[in-house]
């Protein structure tokens, strides 16, 4: 009898810190189990093995910042049945998307100091700006339980269960006292996508938005509250421009404070 087909998993990297694919190796309790359920066909951070495509599931980390990578992602898409982006770089351009807001002349001068450098694009953009993406997993970094959920959902042919609500709901679920209401600490929780487990408020600091905007965020209202708490326009500009600066809701709100 023929062996049942094991789905082929590939992990791809574009401009990033490797933290999201490391989350897979950080699944200490599940790693060998996952490795038993899929064929790890390509995962350069962890293996010399290269099995050619097509791949059943591609996990893509990182953003597009070079012409070469803009071409490479097309090949990855063609070779992949399901393509899942993992992390803030792949879903919203990452911290390196801060270049997108630079004065063009200033940016050009930075690039111009390196004329023969393999061309760097003037922007850092998410994978979905280039190819069709089947599912996006948020976070800088992603949450490894959510990663296991995505892989498990894929293996069972169902939709991953990753709630789109705000970090506030997670705070309530873990009974953390609201840092903004109780202590007047500015917090991005009300507009930020859940998934981290509301870590920052549990450590007495405001959420800094590393999972990017939630569905239908009211950023203008939150900015008014920050203003009442004494945050300057410069501060608001900087908080929206961090690890998910290129995500539409954060980008537009940050532009309000551009001088």
């Amino acid at each position: 009898m023929a062996q049942p087909h094991k789905p082929k998993l590939a992990v791809w990297k574009f401009a990033s810190c490797d933290g999201c694919q490391l989350s897979l190796l950080d699944c200490e309790d599940e790693l060998l189990e996952i490795a038993g359920r899929v064929e790890i066909a390509s995962f350069p951070e962890a293996s010399r093995t290269r099995v050619s495509g097509p791949y059943d599931l591609s996990l893509v980390e990182g953003s597009i910042t070079t012409p070469h990578d803009a071409g490479r992602i097309q090949e990855v898409r063609r070779a992949s049945r399901f393509l899942v982006t993992i992390g803030a770089c792949a879903t919203s351009g990452g911290i390196q998307a801060l270049r997108n807001f630079k004065d063009v002349r200033e940016f050009t001068s930075i690039v111009y100091a390196t004329p023969s450098y393999i061309e760097t694009l003037a922007t850092s953009t998410p994978i979905a700006d280039h190819v069709r993406v089947d599912f996006e997993l948020r976070g800088c970094p992603i949450n490894k339980e959510q990663l296991v959920e995505v892989i498990s959902a894929f293996l069972h042919g169902r939709k991953p269960n990753t709630p789109p609500h705000s970090v506030c709901i997670e705070c309530k679920l873990r009974s953390t006292v609201c840092v903004m209401v109780a202590h007047g600490t500015p917090c991005l929780g009300p507009v930020t996508h859940a998934g981290c487990g509301a870590i920052c408020p549990a450590y007495h600091r405001g959420c800094y938005g590393c999972f990017g905007p939630k569905e239908t965020p009211n950023t203008a209202s939150l900015s008014r509250r920050w203003d009442e708490l004494g945050a300057s326009g410069q501060t608001l500009l900087r908080v929206y421009r961090s690890f998910n600066a290129q995500a539409e809701a954060f980008r537009e709100e940050s532009n309000v404070y551009e001088q």
């Binding site: 962890a46 293996s47 010399r48 911290i95 100091a113 600091r205």
Partner: protein, 429 residues
């Protein structure tokens, strides 16, 4: 004369993306290029205009494997600029956090990235089929490192709890207690790891390196000390820029560092160990002797044993720190920003990591310089390849290529870290 090229277009089991090109003429190595083609991410540019307080969170994103190292160098550089003294218990917690990163990162490298080279497996999953006990113990050990970071930092990758001056929240002595139980198990597992790695087959390859690492009067170095070498270097961290220089090499996206006076130098576990053996805990020293290592280790392939010894030391040190811990009165020192320049080096798992920030009177970053360990080791990596390849030249192509990759992996290169830079100048002849 026969001419041959070894090409590794995608270097596996390293962090980030790199390649290797070696050109051979007969039995001579004509050219070696360790190429880093990871796209630059311009961290030093995007830090400009940010607040000093953003630096630990932003620079953590240079590397997902050693974010604590970036956070530690950033906070120390800012505190150096503003003349801030931190509470001794905050200092202890920072050392504890670093212990967690060393345990997690070194275990990842020893078992998942490096050991498969010695035993002929493509990866740890393949290795697990024949060595299930070893791999399961490794995963459990790595998990203890991550547990330390998660408790102190909130999460293992890109911790959220580190700030300039200290932490947002400090743990009580009681909260740290469960970690001690895990660390006692980890200390035994680390001892077992030292024995296991000492039994791997090592090529005969002792080299006369210039080792550079931090040196503290009493402690094995994490966060502070003077920069010393075995060839006469002994400087304060703020003299770094006068002593070291970054060079622009056409074929790689990462700058090459060298000592202005002497050229290539070596940072990382071998350098720390060889310069600070007497500052290791008695348990770690004893394990090193039992493993057959001297007080100086000059064979880069044996870095896998030295990393294991550092895992053991980190477990041991973490237990001492937890035992002596008293909760500080406040989680962070007050920070009075002023116009100044701050400097810091700390010991990332892969080696010394330098940060320098120039700040204005409001604490806004005007200029940043970051020199990660992999940039510093690039020259030594190429030197090793030049010297090692003639020893293995007779091997069949596939094995020769594998040996070249192993020579690079001795350094646990972190390629994402090495390509964070602002400017690259190309030199042409």
């Amino acid at each position: 004369m026969n001419s041959k090229t070894i090409k590794v277009d995608m270097l596996a089991r390293v962090e980030g993306e790199g390649a290797l090109y070696v050109r051979l003429k007969g039995d001579q190595v004509a050219d070696v290029k360790f190429k880093i083609f990871e796209p630059p991410r311009f961290f030093e540019a995007l830090l400009r205009g940010r607040s000093f307080a953003d630096a630990p969170d932003i620079t953590a994103r240079i590397c997902g494997i050693c974010p604590v190292a970036y956070q530690m160098s950033a906070v120390h550089a800012m505190e150096d600029a503003f003349g801030v003294q931190i509470d001794p218990q905050i200092r202890a917690l920072r050392r504890l956090l670093y212990c967690g990163e060393w345990i997690e990162s070194h275990t990842l490298h020893v078992f998942m990235l490096h050991a498969p080279d010695f035993l002929g497996y493509a990866d740890v999953v393949q290795m697990a089929k024949d060595h299930p006990v070893v791999v399961k113990r490794a995963l459990e050990l790595k998990k203890v490192g991550n547990a330390v970071i998660t408790l102190l930092g909130g999460r293992a990758i890109h911790p959220v709890n580190v700030r300039v001056g200290g932490f947002y929240k400090v743990p009580s002595k009681r909260e740290l207690a469960p970690l001690a139980e895990q660390l006692k198990w980890a200390r035994d597992a680390a001892l077992e790891t030292v024995r296991w790695t000492a039994g791997l087959p090592f090529p005969d390859f002792e080299q006369d390196y210039e080792f550079v690492a931090l040196q503290h009067p009493k402690e094995y170095p994490f966060n502070e000390g003077r920069l010393v070498s075995n060839k006469g270097l002994n400087i304060a961290v703020r003299e770094y820029d006068e002593t070291f220089v970054e060079e622009h090499i056409p074929y790689t996206n990462a700058l090459h560092s060298r000592l202005k006076a002497r050229g290539a130098y070596f940072v990382g576990p071998l350098a720390r160990y060889s310069l600070n053996f007497d500052r290791l805990s008695p348990l770690a020293q004893e394990a090193a002797r039992a493993a057959g290592l001297g007080t100086i280790c000059q064979n880069p392939f044996e870095s896998i044993i030295v990393r294991s010894i550092e895992i053991l030391y980190a477990c041991d040190e973490a237990l001492h720190l937890i035992d002596a811990y008293e909760m500080p009165e406040r989680p962070a020192a007050e920070i009075p920003p002023c116009a100044a320049t701050g400097y810091a080096c700390t010991e990332a798992p892969r080696g010394m990591l330098y940060h320098r920030y120039q700040l204005d009177e409001t604490g806004q970053i005007l200029d940043a310089k970051i020199v990660p360990p992999t940039s510093q080791n690039q020259k030594i990596i190429e030197d090793d390849l030049r010297r090692f390849i003639p020893q293995v030249l007779q091997l069949p192509e596939e094995q020769l290529t594998w040996r070249c990759e192993q020579t690079i992996r001795n350094y646990d290169p972190c390629i994402s870290c090495a390509t964070h830079f602002l400017k690259l100048h190309i030199t042409r002849e």
